[in-house]
Symmetry: C2
Subunit: 352 residues, 2 copies
């Protein structure tokens, strides 16, 4: 009988970076926790609104910012359409605004151009970037670096959570900059996110089980409400990139305005219902209705499915996404795909 | 031999309302063309930015507004997330903003609540509604009525084009309100849109041919760039509602950031490339790349596919959507569905 040779599986940059997330977010908070309130105070104290330009995964961080800036600092957020500048050569009034460009590489020419145009029109500008030696970083008044280290995986994970942490830090900085009574500094719960992400990482086995509903077929919808919409978008993007599942994110509110017509066809549905979300009752009722129609439903939250650690609602997207990353990774493996070599994607897409 | 009895097919409210669109838009322009500049001048002359709340089809009109307000009046637009008010009970700073609620029925409680919250926070408010005797109309400072008449079809068509026309009229009104040198009134091209929509209606046979790529399978993507993004969203929604095709709208720029991994699997792709769009070269190159990978591609624009009448870029969404409405109607018929009885949809969805 031959000796069984245990072979170490080849290292997966994707898996390594998923696991690195608590450390990456901790690095960012350590390095920028004291500095961010200073720069945001200078840039944004009198801002009436925020504009954000981003693409791909970073656009999902911008979706998070729509809620984080509103909930923490009462600021409305407009997601800038780069094509207004690049395609139509139009300058939008930007006085009284804080313009933020979010990009891992800082290399997307259309994001750089949007930020530069807003700056010329009177906006104060901030770059949230991993690569601080980049055109976007150079174009902005101030830079909030991600400190995520080099990203080797083609699908972004640790830079996404770092972007969310940077946005949370910026929102919290604007809250204390603007409110004289809030002068007691950043909310301590912000500093507990690395620990919460660490706990969330334990859900891999449960997420692997959930990935079973995505083994066959090529479609899915990912439902969420409120601040968790960014997570439904990011999970959908990961499912597309890694598992070649045409997953579509939906607000559970919008889903009942039409797309529900697609339900009852065996369409797999992922429902995000993290512990403590005020939309829990509504989401669970929808989840039950869809299951009764015959949709395979997988809940990310508390009931069955994946159980997640409790987090303050506004910070929950930083830990909830971990379940989706594991889900997409295992859906890819179940579908016979290599999540470290997704087809047809390059690392930087230059939109001109 | 029996005499052949010609039976008149039962009237289709959907078809009737698609055909009514030129008249509906003409009614709106006739009734509000003189009044809109006055009310928008009072509401929005000093606005620094615009916030819009809407759901479903009306949310696609809001997507159009992001471009129309930027291109015509240089105004940034933030799409308001109703859940910030309804779920999280948070008030967002709204001073210096014009807040617009868009809704056919004027009945969605979350849109009404968002507008009322913005009004209390200092925004000037406008309701774009078909039903002027509605809570949304009553809550707003001013009302811009759609004049689309009663909508009998479950899937919205004429109220969508009327909403686009109302947004175009509002954007153009803000342009002339804010620029002293623009005092020559509304752009005459606005008044030519009913005629352009009438010409676009002729593409039914071509759209019916195009629907062939959607006969089998349940997925598709609809690609566009710039101002035409609203059209890709609205076509996707119509394909879901009417034809039960899980169609996903994408910016052609974003599509290459990941979702392109799904291409080459026979995924049907609709590419919007209306005559004269500055993104034409880029869209055609993408269209060719996808066809080469094996995707069935149907172009809505000039080359092959559906040919559309030329329109000024900022007004093209009003006529381009017609091709998508015909496409969705015929995709439904080819798939054995009754487009006048889409499954699982009610006319008004009340999100609380």
């Amino acid at each position: 009988m031959k000796a069984k040779i245990l072979q170490k599986p080849p290292a997966s940059p994707l898996r390594a970076e998923i696991l690195e997330q608590p450390a990456a977010v901790a690095r960012l908070l350590d390095a920028e926790g004291a500095r961010a309130p200073r720069i945001l105070r200078a840039l944004g104290r009198k801002a009436r609104f925020v504009m954000i330009a981003a693409r791909g995964t970073s656009d999902n961080a911008a979706r998070y910012a729509q809620y984080a800036f509103a909930l923490r600092a009462g600021l409305p957020v407009a997601l800038a359409s780069p094509s207004i500048v690049t395609l139509y050569k139009t300058t939008v009034r930007a006085r009284g605004s804080l313009f933020i460009g979010i990009s891992q590489s800082g290399m997307s020419p259309d994001i750089v151009e949007s930020l530069a145009s807003a700056k010329r029109a009177g906006a104060r500008t901030l770059a949230i970037v991993n690569n601080t030696n980049s055109p976007l970083a150079r174009a902005a008044d101030e830079v909030l670096p991600l400190h995520a280290g080099v990203e080797r995986s083609i699908a972004a994970t640790k830079t996404y959570t770092a972007e969310l942490a940077a946005v949370a830090l910026a929102a919290e900085s604007l809250r204390i900059a603007d409110s004289p009574r809030a002068g007691r500094g950043l909310a301590p719960e912000l500093y507990r996110t690395p620990e919460t992400i660490q706990k969330a990482l334990r859900c891999e086995a449960a997420a692997e089980t959930g990935a079973g509903i995505l083994r066959k077929g090529g479609r899915a919808v990912v439902l969420a409400r409120g601040v968790h919409l960014c997570t439904s978008h990011e999970i959908s993007l990961k499912l597309k990139e890694l598992a070649r599942v045409l997953a579509e994110p939906y607000s559970s509110a919008d889903f009942e305005h039409g797309p529900i017509a697609l339900a009852g066809l065996g369409l797999p549905v992922i429902v995000l219902c993290p512990p403590g979300t005020p939309a829990a009752a509504e989401l669970r009722a929808l989840s039950d209705r869809l299951a009764a129609k015959g949709c395979p439903v997988f809940e990310i939250g508390t009931r069955g499915g994946v159980k997640l650690p409790r987090a303050p609602e506004w910070l929950a997207p930083l830990s909830t996404i971990v379940a989706g990353q594991w889900l997409a990774l295992h859906a890819a493996l179940l579908r016979g795909l290599d999540p470290d070599r997704p087809a047809g994607i390059t690392k930087i897409t230059e939109t001109l």
